[in-house]
Symmetry: C2
Subunit: 331 residues, 2 copies
Amino acid sequence: MKSREIHLLEYLKGDPKPENYKLAEADVPAPGEGEVTVKNHYISVDPYMRGRMSGIRTYVGPFELGKVMEGGAVGEVVESNYEGLKPGDFVNSMFGWREAYTAPGKALQKIDTSVLPPQSYLGIAGLTGLTAYVGIKRIIDLQEGETMWMSAGAGAVGSAGIQFAKAMGATVIATAGGPEKCDFVKSIGADAVVDYKAADNLTAAIQDAAPKGIDGYFENVGGTHFTAALNTLKPKGRIAACGMIQRYNDAQPATITDNLTFIVGKSLKIQGFIVTDHADMMDGFVRDLSAWMAAGKIKPAETVIEGIENAPDAFMGLFSGRNTGKMLVKI
Amino acid sequence: MKSREIHLLEYLKGDPKPENYKLAEADVPAPGEGEVTVKNHYISVDPYMRGRMSGIRTYVGPFELGKVMEGGAVGEVVESNYEGLKPGDFVNSMFGWREAYTAPGKALQKIDTSVLPPQSYLGIAGLTGLTAYVGIKRIIDLQEGETMWMSAGAGAVGSAGIQFAKAMGATVIATAGGPEKCDFVKSIGADAVVDYKAADNLTAAIQDAAPKGIDGYFENVGGTHFTAALNTLKPKGRIAACGMIQRYNDAQPATITDNLTFIVGKSLKIQGFIVTDHADMMDGFVRDLSAWMAAGKIKPAETVIEGIENAPDAFMGLFSGRNTGKMLVKI
């Protein structure tokens, strides 16, 4: 069997461009002892992957040049020499941007597709959902009756987090870019929405949306969003710093208004986190998510692009905001 | 009895100036039932007071214009109608910038001057010392063998914190301004000192002083110090944000290099705090401090200015760095 796959050709400075990527073809070997062959149905493209394309070690190492890029994918077992998996089973892997692969069965996670469609495990029921859950529940430690601001509310983590925070009994305000995304954010339950592209003064717009201030801020954007959060947080407010997508493609360091004294003056807590450091929360997450879904409180949201050859395009679309909800590539 | 005292005449924008303050004279009434009259020996001037001079409510309200400014002071009881205190006893109060006062005995804290001189209770054994202790022990949660960077190392909180962190078994690097202060910081035990006024590139200088990176940063300064801390902290590093003196006199917001993505990329934790929220740590602090002093590990450091009329000058001196250790006004 042949499989088409995406390679990274060079480490990036500034915006990702189509010529940074190459579509290649590889042979998929027949499975050896303990191995299975999987045909992917969906692959995940995520903002954090930009860091791995920079050639710099942060919390994960860089992608290897000229090899298939790693990342979350769900697929169907088509051939198996591993007793824990049989053809027709669905599995979650980190084997990335390719149509098919052969791998040891024990490196794969079998998923239950009886309640949720397989692609949910790349989104609201997977690391994306767990990321939102960890940020809200552990880092912000959001309490019933508090007010949270979710940035990038139409994104994968944002749209999950808005629904989780509502399910926890909080008031949620959200920011998103453009009227279409703002409508989407309202449709999933946000109490107030600010179109940051239309706001002259983001601080004033957030103050209008949450006149009593905010208790928690979920940071996906950075830059002027961060500044506005420090301006609008109440004393003892908390920021869960999950991502700063506005900054990832900067070739040169940007500058920002220095209102960091609010950290002192309001006794704020700001904490960066990476979901894999909080894997201990998975069981509680699955329990809560199941209960919220059973109660009809959660609506998975996805933007689907077709074809492995369009995966770089889907990835680049994350930075121009082409997705509402989780961005997926359907194989 | 008469008492001279300092009033604030107007709320400040920018640098404090002598004409913002007025020396006034008041009558000290004889003590009524349950009251005592106290002659102050030392009053404390502290950077946080700048916030109370701005007319803006942060964690404490602003000073009242045309009234004596509040603040820590130690003095001797000269007359008493309160059974818990007798003439000759020393007390700690928050009654501020004045030579003498009459107050209810139960509003005062009796201090033990048998081991430490009374002014220590305004410095290393008082809120100043507790501030350093809370930041290091609870916010940074400094572990034996880790490396901490103390900013404003020659200041009141800084010089206490350097000695506490060393006593806890950490490696301590410190920043201070000018060769004299750097010598002082070394004399109290810092393992390495950086003169930030002489450093072209503070990040590079910190990297030289701590080649393996820093685990904790104690923030008293802000601005370029904060930027350098984000650059040099190890993954999972912690910042205790106690003050940002570089910013307090800004009339207009400054700008700063935006390297905040390190908060995400290195899973950093940054927490602002105010010592009065952590009064529960007082007992543990007194226990640890007593043990460290008994072991000869702690050396109180003070800069003393004489005369209540010079209190505004002493306060302004905090911003030009005229103090090593705790700045005190002797009455």
